[in-house]
């Protein structure tokens, strides 16, 4: 029953999307909304049903697979079009459809004035379908398919305003980066296929030990899979596409580039934990990359002026926490933070969306200030989100981030290092988020005021923000230290085979709570001192550490480096091949041979000079040559 419902959940958004695309002519906006949002709502309702029905089953009876038909049978491998319904995928399903629904609702008003209303919803539905396919896939092949489709949907939505060159370029960058990730993922899966002979999750995980614990193969599998995860989840060094992706409409940023798609890498690692735990080294490398990413992104976020870019870098940073946790083996903590992040980051983006909408597509913090009196809902959402992400006690990230950090402490020396970075990151998080909040909503209005008074949103946009804002507070209480462990319990059947579950001691938990709370409060306080207490202070301090700040603003020059190292040389090489090698090489082979033959033909023609004496000479010379050939052969034969 659950699997049937899951199939329906999977197909519904696709059907919605297809209906919208196939609608003859331009469908009425109401119909577009109905189809676009309705399909997701029903999907969400069904996902909840599945969730409830699984809850009613015994914990060890919550995993189902279902093959629709035998999709291919090739070279010794057979593959069904199958889905896997288990607590992990159901959790993801709930996030995707639930948050997805809220964002769809928000978009209904946000995109009201866009001429491509239908296309927007069609593409959003395509995205939801792809994401569901990614998490529901029952084997590695369809995981990759979902992975690829998600990339496509992301590409389409980033480039939604395709007349803007910046959007087009950002879309291409995102797509290509993701294809690089796909390539890694595919190679990883192919390595699994080669070593374990299967593409099926169950079989692969059950036989994971055949890779050999801590073997080079296991390391290779994990790192290749991680290349895919890093691209999707914007981890160093494949993170540069995400900030650019903010060229898409804000709901897109909220749904894809904050709440769901970018967490796919975390999902992948958790899903494949059976493989990842075969290589301790791989886990550590991943954790270090996650930690580095979180720190790097947090510092970059500090220097951004574009409100969406701040949020984008904050996303990179937060996913860094999750990846770090997943790398260290704190799978349920990672998933916990993933869920919380979905709430507060969606909330933050939607709140930012209200601001941008109200200011007629203005995104620069420099043109904002004192907005709290105009945009109450946005202020509420942004405030709740900031408290949540900063880890203010009682809010979402307070529980989830502390879960990550506490478990890290239990993960040996690397874990401790990660813990330190995590705490620093928490401080920076609080600082940059409240910088955003204070600069946009507090302080004086920008010089000259607003051309048009920022107009508050209608309920389409308000309701999702309010719901998500509430969730940013309530959500965290699902798992409380020394209280109850909702997420861990739910994921327990999936993570039952973890060989060395990380358990933080009470002391570690208290230590973490103490430090992280201090970091959060410190960050908020510093932000207050810098940006709210005296609006002129940041201008006076503009000259402090200008150089490093410039580097941070430019995101450590990754883009430039990639341009110089990969793109330009590649372009150059292509041009050289096209203009130099091609005419001289493969085509030169032809023109060269033709030239030789042409020259020979000229010689032959010239020898045919019309003089009969020459002809006689040729005959007699030929006779001599014939005699010589014959004599040589005769001598050889004898």
């Amino acid at each position: 029953m659950q699997t049937t419902l899951a199939w329906i959940v999977l197909v519904l958004p696709l059907l919605g999307g297809i209906t919208l695309v196939a609608w003859p002519g331009e469908p009425p906006r109401a119909a577009t909304r109905l189809i676009g949002i309705g399909s997701i709502l029903i999907a969400f309702a069904l996902a909840v049903t599945i969730f409830v029905s699984l809850l009613m089953n015994a914990p060890d009876d919550r995993t189902f697979t279902s093959g629709l038909y035998e999709w291919i049978s090739i070279g010794g491998t057979s593959l069904d079009l199958s889905i896997l319904v288990d607590p992990l995928s159901v959790m993801m399903m709930l996030i995707i459809t639930g948050v997805g629904f809220l964002i769809h609702l928000f978009s209904a008003e946000y995109m009201q004035n866009d001429r491509d209303y239908r296309r927007f919803f069609a593409e959003m539905n395509l995205f939801v379908f792809s994401m569901l396919l990614l998490v529901l896939a029952g084997n590695f092949f369809f995981l990759i398919v979902g992975w690829g489709f998600v990339g496509l949907a992301s590409y389409l939505l980033i480039g939604f305003w395709y007349e803007r060159p910046a959007a087009v370029a950002a879309a291409k960058k995102a797509f290509v980066m993701n294809v690089i990730g796909d390539a890694g993922l595919v190679l990883g899966v192919l390595l699994i296929l080669r070593q374990l002979g299967t593409l099926d999750y169950q079989q692969a995980f059950a036989n994971a030990d055949q890779l050999g614990a801590n073997s080079g193969t296991a390391l290779a599998v994990c790192l290749l899979l991680f290349v895919g995860a890093a691209a999707k989840s914007a981890q160093i060094p494949l993170h540069t596409w995400l900030p650019d992706a903010m060229e898409g409409p804000t709901p897109v940023s909220a749904l894809i580039h904050a709440a769901t798609m970018v967490t796919a890498g975390v999902y992948l690692i958790v899903r494949c934990h059976a493989l990842f735990q075969m290589s301790e080294l791989a886990g550590q490398i991943i954790a270090v990359i996650g930690a580095a990413t979180l720190l790097m992104a947090a510092t970059v976020a500090l220097q951004q002026v574009d409100i969406k870019r701040v949020l984008a870098w904050s996303t990179v940073s937060q996913i860094g926490y999750m990846i770090m946790a997943a790398g260290l083996g704190a799978y349920s903590a990672a998933m916990f933070h993933l869920l919380m992040h979905a709430f507060f980051k969606a909330c933050l983006f939607l709140a930012a969306g209200i601001v941008i909408h109200a200011l007629h597509d203005e995104q620069s913090l420099n043109k904002m200030g004192g907005l709290k009196k105009y945009l109450r809902v946005a202020y509420f959402g942004m405030g709740m989100g900031c408290l949540a992400i900063a880890g203010f006690p009682g809010f979402d990230a307070f529980f989830s981030k502390d879960d990550i950090l506490a478990t890290s402490l239990a993960a040996g020396p690397v874990g401790v290092a990660c813990w330190i970075i995590g705490v620093v990151g928490a401080f920076l998080t609080a600082l940059y988020m409240f910088r955003l909040l204070f600069r946009a909503f507090f302080g004086p209005e920008p010089t000259g005021g607003y051309a048009h008074a920022p107009h508050p949103s209608k309920w389409w946009m308000a309701v999702p923000v309010i719901i998500l804002g509430v969730l940013s507070f309530v959500g965290g209480w699902i798992q409380v230290p020394f209280g109850w462990t909702g997420i861990s319990d739910w994921l327990a059947p999936v993570l039952a085979d973890v060989q060395h579950p990380l358990e933080a001691t009470n002391a570690q938990v208290w230590l973490t709570i103490g430090f992280s709370t201090a970091a959060a409060l410190g960050g908020i306080a510093l932000a207050w001192w810098l940006f709210a207490a005296d609006p002129q202070r940041r201008i006076r301090l503009a000259a402090v550490a200008r150089g490093p700040r410039e580097v941070m603003r430019e995101a450590y020059l990754f883009d430039e480096a990639y341009d110089d190292v990969f793109i330009e040389p590649g372009r150059e090489l292509g041009t050289v091949l096209l203009d130099e090698v091609e005419p001289k090489g493969p085509q030169g082979l032809i023109t060269g041979t033709a030239a030789v033959i042409r020259d020979t033909a000229r010689v032959v023609s010239a020898s045919e000079n019309g003089f009969v004496r020459s002809y006689a000479f040729a005959m007699i010379a030929g006779l001599a040559v014939a005699g010589v050939i014959l004599a040589i052969v005769v001598a050889g034969v004898a």
């Binding site: 023609s605 010239a606 045919e608 000079n609 019309g610 003089f611 009969v612 004496r613 006689a616 000479f617 007699i620």
Partner: protein, 101 residues
Amino acid sequence: MIVPMSAYIVLSIVLLGLGMLGVMRRRNPLLLLLSIELMLNAGNILLIGFSRQWNDPAGQIFALVVMVVAAAEVVIGLGLVVAVFRSRMNLDVDEMSSMKG
């Protein structure tokens, strides 16, 4: 006196060589025809010589046939030379190179 076969061969080779030189060097069609006659008769000498060596009349018959053929060729050759001379008033085969290449 019995002339040894080698003498016939040497003579014929000399004649053949002279004829060959002639066709390669001469530009007057009449002299060309003469050179060709030399070459043909080199063959004839050889034929007759071998005919004697084998004591077989075939060679001599062959030589007679060759003479007839040679005569025919010369006749045609002279006819053509006359025709060419009529239209050009020139006896240089190198002038006859309107077609080449």
